[in-house]
């Protein structure tokens, strides 16, 4: 029953090329990309202090009062500092030299906010978010004032802080975490090559005929070969996860249950890809690496496997690599199962279909001359 599974596992473990490509290589990449590129390509960055200069053009006293109140409240947090300017070009010059974060201009009626951004795009995003919230609040206040001004008196008594509960994600994410996840996705996709060699390897070692001659049914042989891949996949994913966690302090999901689910998702994806590889290996007789390797690397590159900054809108999100990675991030970082469930479902369907096609092809297969 288990003879083929044991044989496959022994061969996998003893084949140095396999060990390098499917175990050592991803682990090394997790470490190298996670540490060396970490400073350039940060997953999480402290925004730090924000220095803003502003010009108030509006002469509406209520608007001016609202702006000044907003500035005063914001400065109380001790992270964002405002300074009034009377010369826009000078202020923009300071922003361009990164002396200040940005310049804000509160225009005349209707009130709009023009933001002249500085160099730090993360700080720019923070300023943009801050001013958006101010505009929303301002419009709300103006609307209430026009409809029922007395209600504004009640707003002062609302304890805002109590309604806003800030929670972090439970772990401090680093680039190691990013690469620990995408490298598993990478070996999952690379496993399609393992699948190709499932029968191609037997053909190359001339042992395929011995298998076909044996009294085992072809369906049984095929399923055993596929099952023989499971220990390899479990080994690959486990080793990368364990080494990433214990050697490089990487974080996957917060809970053990989510980590198991993440493991299961990758297992299903890998098995689906292996089954596709097996079908390819039954059909083609040439070396599949020549075609598959460049294809996989391009797909992984565009899917953000090597850097999250690589994203081509309208293309990347349609790539399986991208979707699997996003599913893993959703699950690991946010504890969301939806995308992972879809990926598991699609992988299961692909696995079943590929097994049916593979069995059909293998049953029809004649011995090698």
């Amino acid at each position: 029953m288990f003879s083929i599974i044991i044989k496959e596992t022994r061969e996998f473990i003893r084949e140095k090329t396999n060990l390098f490509f499917f175990l050592v290589f991803p682990v090394v990449l997790v470490f190298l990309l996670g540490t060396l590129l970490g400073s350039m390509d940060q997953a999480e960055e402290t925004v730090g202090e924000i220095k803003l200069q502003y010009i108030i053009e509006t002469e509406d006293p209520i608007q001016r009062m609202a702006i000044e109140k907003f500035i005063e409240t914001t400065e109380e947090e001790g992270k964002i500092f405002f300074e009034e300017s009377n010369n826009l070009s000078v202020a923009r010059g300071l922003a361009s030299k990164d002396d200040i974060t940005a310049v804000l201009v509160f225009t005349k009626d209707p009130l709009k906010i023009e933001i002249y951004e500085g160099r730090n795009h993360i700080k720019n995003r923070a300023v943009s978010a801050l001013m958006n919230s101010f505009i929303q609040m301002n419009q709300t206040v103006m609307t209430i004032m026009n409809v029922n001004p007395e209600q504004l008196m009640d707003l002062e008594h609302i304890p805002w802080e109590e309604n806003l509960i800030q929670k972090d994600l439970g772990v401090n994410r680093t680039m190691i975490d990013y690469y620990a996840i995408v490298m598993i996705a990478m070996i999952s996709f690379m496993s399609i090559i393992l699948g190709c060699y499932c029968f191609l390897g037997e053909r190359q070692s001339k042992t395929l005929n011995r298998l076909i001659i044996s009294p085992q049914s072809r369906v049984y042989l095929f399923l055993q070969k596929i099952l023989g891949m499971v220990p390899q996949v479990v080994l690959q994913i486990s080793i990368i996860m364990v080494i990433s966690v214990f050697a490089f302090n990487a974080n996957y999901a917060r809970t053990f249950k989510d980590n198991l689910y993440l493991f299961f998702m990758f297992l299903m994806v890998t098995m689906a890809l292996i089954s596709i590889g097996v079908v390819i290996g039954l059909v083609i007789k040439k070396n599949p690496m020549v075609v598959l390797f460049p294809f996989l690397w391009i797909m992984m590159f565009l899917g953000g496997t090597f850097s999250k900054e690589v994203h081509i809108k309208g293309l990347s999100e349609f790539l399986p690599t991208y979707q699997v990675q996003q599913g893993a991030f959703d699950l690991a970082i946010f504890g969301r199962y939806h995308r992972a469930n879809i990926i598991i479902l699609i992988s299961s369907i692909i696995l079943v279909l590929s097994i049916f096609i593979g069995v059909y092809l293998f049953r029809r297969k004649e011995g090698e001359q």
Partner: protein, 314 residues
């Protein structure tokens, strides 16, 4: 009834007729040689017999089982030793043999015992833990045989099992095949080495272009080509012996075609018959001639093949 009965076997690859109405029968417990040039249809025939390939027409009966109907039962009987070394480089010799034997249902202690016996049989009992990549060509060949016989098959198909091996390994392999026959196995054997086929095969079939050219014992095949054999007798003649008179007497014997002598070596061409050589020897003894050595020569398989097919074997 023959152990293997092939009747009108026909196999096409597209338009090409690889095997054309082939008829062969192999008796139980014999080593049957199948010879022919490359592309003659040997491998296709072996592929059909070993269930690797379907066939278009004809009938194949093995041990009373119809290949079309009882494929699984027939598979259980067969042991295959392919021309290519078909073993896993990353498994040890014992692991390789155990794996292939396990495909035939052997388990546990029985599996280990059978595998070790097979390796012992081919002379690799001291190489159980050695991986094929560290073995010599001859050792790999012997491992290849062990993988094919560990499950104790009644019927063994050997496709050029001695290709590329040294003389010592070849002798070991040929001895092993003869021992397998003594143990009751029926063997179909192909080889390009005619001397091997002559030595170990009870009967031989010559096929060419998918068709059977001739089959039978070596003696029967030779008789198809010629009925004359040459007998060489190295003799010590008594003092004053008249050799010419003696040679004349020999020439007058029935079935003797020609007689000549050079350096006390007589060459006598006679029609191949039972006791033909004995009657010649009697003449020598009657004349008081001491015989130092006798050698008889009949056409070898290469010559026969050339005569029967019109071209060389290779």
């Amino acid at each position: 009834m023959a152990f293997v009965e092939i009747k009108n076997l026909t196999k096409y690859y597209g338009e090409l007729c690889a095997v054309d109405h082939l008829n062969i029968s192999v008796e139980e417990g014999e080593i049957f040689g199948l010879i022919g040039p490359n592309g003659a249809g040997k491998s296709t025939t072996l592929h059909v017999i070993t269930t690797l390939t379907d066939f278009d027409k004809g009938e194949v009966i093995i041990d009373g089982l119809d290949l079309r109907k009882d494929k699984v039962k027939i598979k259980q009987l067969i042991g295959m030793v392919p021309q290519d070394i078909a073993v896993y480089d990353h498994l040890t010799a014992l692991e390789n043999v155990k794996f292939f034997a396990s495909l035939y249902g052997l388990r546990g202690k029985e599996l280990t015992k059978a595998s070790k016996e097979a390796l012992d049989f081919v002379g690799l009992s001291d190489r159980l833990s050695l991986k094929p990549k560290h073995m010599s060509g001859g050792m790999k060949r012997r491992l290849n045989i062990a993988c094919g016989i560990a499950h104790g098959p009644k019927f063994i198909v050997m496709d050029e099992p001695t290709v590329g091996v040294d003389a010592q390994s070849r002798e070991h392999i040929l001895n092993s095949i003869q021992i397998l026959r003594e143990r009751g196995a029926t063997v179909i054997y192909t080889s390009h080495y005619m001397n091997e086929v002559e030595i170990i095969c009870n009967r031989i079939a010559i096929i060419d272009k998918g068709k059977l050219v001739a089959s039978g014992t070596k003696h029967q095949l030779v008789s198809l080509v010629t009925d004359v054999q040459s007998v060489y007798i190295h003799a010590k003649l008594p003092m004053g012996f008249l050799a010419e008179d003696f040679m004349k007497r020999l020439r007058n014997m029935p079935d003797v075609k020609a007689v000549s002598m050079k350096d006390y070596m007589f060459r006598i061409d006679i029609i191949m018959k039972e006791n033909g050589i004995s009657r010649i020897v009697e003449q020598f003894i009657q004349q008081g001639i001491s015989i130092i050595s006798i050698k008889s020569e009949e056409p070898d398989l290469d010559t026969m093949f050339l005569t029967l097919t019109g071209h060389d074997l290779r």
